[in-house]
């Protein structure tokens, strides 16, 4: 990839630039202000997050990317209100986030569907919890089941569904509450490659049709570039923002764009940030020869 003549990832075509300008003019929905998180550990404190600062605009699709253990889950849990920051704060519509609330929907990597409820009841759960009537909840649930294409499974139990289907239910369940923002923590991480790309297309389609802002966590570079308007790149030890990248790949996105120069340029930049070249020298590993086969196999 280094030898290819790629444009700079910062270069934007006029319509892409115009689009980002429009996004910036939209109201800010979520403000992450100097967020820090320290876990007290047995041998010293672990600084999981350090001075995280960014804004999300209405209807924006943000990806957060970073190596394993850099604090992505910690960040999204704080945004969801499931964990508390040790410094800084999070504002949703200018209100400080103080705990979990249905205005911030969450989709977890483990599907976390309620195994004792049917698909329909799972989707109705949030509406029932927020004191909506049974009829309204059921009507809404059926609509969401249709939207995620699971009409035949309304009365099935979660264990009867495949991983991709379960995650579609989880998305519908979170969206049925009409949250302001949808938080997703590596939602497709456990799926096989084919299901995964199918789900990515699904998610973009849902995002187009539903008035929702999405913050999506991943460690997959392709996924981040394919989905996001902007990518927040986290570095490790402690988790901090390395760069916030505006993805110059035009919308609507489709899988054919994976090999376009803009796509590759953005991906290359991510690669540089997340796997700095000097840390990636496999050739220097000590090697023991364990095969009798001749050199012709390599």
């Amino acid at each position: 990839m280094n030898n290819l003549n790629l444009p700079s990832y910062l270069e934007q075509e006029p319509d892409v630039r115009a689009r980002f300008k429009k996004i910036r003019q939209r109201p800010v929905i979520l403000e992450v202000q100097h967020l820090g998180k320290v876990f007290p550990g047995a041998d010293g404190d672990i600084v999981a997050l350090h001075d995280i600062l960014f804004n999300i605009h209405r209807r924006e699709f943000i990806c957060v990317i970073g190596a394993s253990g850099c604090g992505k889950s910690t960040l999204i849990r704080i945004l969801a209100g499931l964990d508390y920051p040790t410094s800084g704060q999070v504002l949703l519509d200018n209100q400080e986030v103080k705990g979990p609330s249905p205005d911030r929907g969450m989709v977890f990597q483990g599907y976390t569907l309620f195994p004792w409820l049917t698909i329909k009841k799972n989707i109705m759960f949030g509406l029932k919890m927020t004191n909506h009537g049974n009829n309204y909840a059921e009507e809404q649930a059926l609509q969401w089941i249709d939207l995620v294409g699971l009409s035949n499974f309304a009365n099935a139990y979660p264990h009867e569904l495949s991983g991709g289907m379960k995650q579609r239910v989880a998305i519908a369940r979170a969206l049925a509450n009409r949250p302001r923002i949808l938080l997703m923590d590596e939602p497709f991480g456990a799926l096989d490659a084919q299901t995964r790309s199918q789900m990515q297309a699904y998610l973009l389609q849902i995002w187009r049709n539903v008035d929702i802002t999405i913050l999506f966590i991943t460690h997959d570079l392709d996924e981040a570039v394919y989905l996001a308007d902007r990518i927040v790149v986290l570095g490790t030890h402690p988790g901090h923002i390395q760069e916030i990248i505006e993805v110059s790949v035009p919308r609507p996105r489709n899988p054919d764009q994976f090999l376009t120069p803009q796509f590759l340029a953005t991906k290359k930049r991510l690669e540089e940030l997340i796997h700095p070249p000097e840390k990636n020298r496999h050739e220097d590993l000590p090697m023991i020869r364990l095969t009798q086969a001749g050199d012709e196999v390599i």
């Binding site: 969801a80 209100g81 499931l82 705990g99 979990p100 609330s101 249905p102 911030r104 929907g105 969450m106 977890f108 483990g110 976390t112 309620f114 195994p115 004792w116 409820l117 759960f125 949030g126 029932k128 919890m129 927020t130 139990y157 979660p158 264990h159 369940r173 979170a174 509450n177 938080l183």
Partner: protein
């Protein structure tokens, strides 16, 4: 080797047919051994049942004597030129043969108690079941909610579990004399022993089961708008229900274990009273029948409960 045809594949299921066959064998094998010992004259049979006393003065027909004594007496008879006693090899009276126990199964129910006011066998059994029912229900009504609280709130774990852990090590029967002093000699102390035997374990077991519920389900529910009270009744309780049901089945088995002690304190009653009474009259076939009956009652209730559970929790039917 094709593991699907293997009887001893590690952590692999056997076919339905083989499972059934082995299940049957697990009952048939002990029965076979029992039959062998009972019906084969040259296996064990340390006694002799006298059929003809001959010249031995104190032998009587149908009397059981040790084979050694039988041989010694006959040696005397031979020396004295008198007629020898004759008899068949037999097992001691405390090991009745299978057919005798099967017979006892029927006759035990039909035999009137020796004293007029004593209960019939079916009344004894019913009495035992009643004691278990009250003891276990009482302990479930208090133990399950307390266990759920312990598994949900660290506050209750800290304030309740250490003391319960302490009491748990005291064997329930140790409280027998105390309970009689507190509650009299009727059924109350028996119910109390069943309660003591199951309640403390129940709180700890249910607390543990509650703690095992996947925490991410609670977090998911919170992001969907569930608050504390709703979390307990809409997530924790339904989430642990299948495991709670399984715990209760196991604990009910323990209740039967404590029953035998419970029935012997104060005025003895129920099936244990029947067993003791029959042992006193040396009706060991009835003793065996009663013991087997406890096993049958326990196994049947458990199987019925399992079957009900299968319908109560359709989402647990994985395979």
């Amino acid at each position: 080797m094709n593991t699907r045809k293997h009887w001893f594949a590690i952590r692999k299921d056997l076919s339905g047919q083989r499972s059934w066959l082995l299940g049957l064998c697990s009952f048939l094998l002990p029965l076979c051994i029992w039959s062998l010992v009972s019906y084969t004259p040259w296996i064990w049979h340390p006694m002799v049942r006298i059929s003809d006393p001959g010249g031995v003065a104190y032998f009587q027909k149908d009397m059981l004597v040790d084979r050694e004594i039988f041989n010694k007496e006959n040696a005397f008879m031979r020396e004295g030129g008198e007629s020898e006693a004759r008899g068949e090899p037999a097992n001691p009276i405390y090991l009745p043969a299978p057919h005798q126990v099967v017979q006892a199964f029927i006759t035990a129910f039909q035999t009137a108690p020796i004293r007029r006011n004593d209960p019939w066998l079916h009344q004894s059994i019913l009495h035992s079941i009643t004691v278990i029912f009250y003891g276990f229900t009482l302990s479930a009504i208090l133990g399950v909610p307390l266990g759920i609280l312990c598994g949900t709130f660290a506050f209750f774990t800290r304030i309740i579990e250490p003391f319960i852990d302490f009491i748990r090590y005291m064997p329930a029967p140790a409280f027998g004399a105390l309970m009689v002093a507190f509650l009299g000699i009727a059924d109350a102390p028996k119910v109390a022993i069943i309660f003591i035997g199951t309640f403390f374990q129940m709180v700890l077991v249910v607390g543990n089961t509650t703690r095992l519920l996947d925490k991410s389900l609670l977090e998911a529910a919170q992001t969907l708008g569930a608050t504390s009270k709703k979390l307990i009744f809409h997530v924790i309780v339904p989430g642990i229900l299948p495991n709670l049901y399984r715990d209760m089945r196991i604990l009910l088995g323990w209740a039967w274990t404590y029953l035998i002690v419970a029935e012997l304190i104060g005025a003895s009653s129920g099936i244990s009273w029947f067993i003791n009474q029959q042992a006193k009259y040396r009706n060991y076939d009835n003793v065996f029948a009663a013991i087997v009956m406890i096993g049958i009652i326990g196994l049947t209730t458990d199987q019925i409960l399992r079957f009900i559970g299968h319908y109560l929790f359709p989402w647990e039917r994985r395979n």
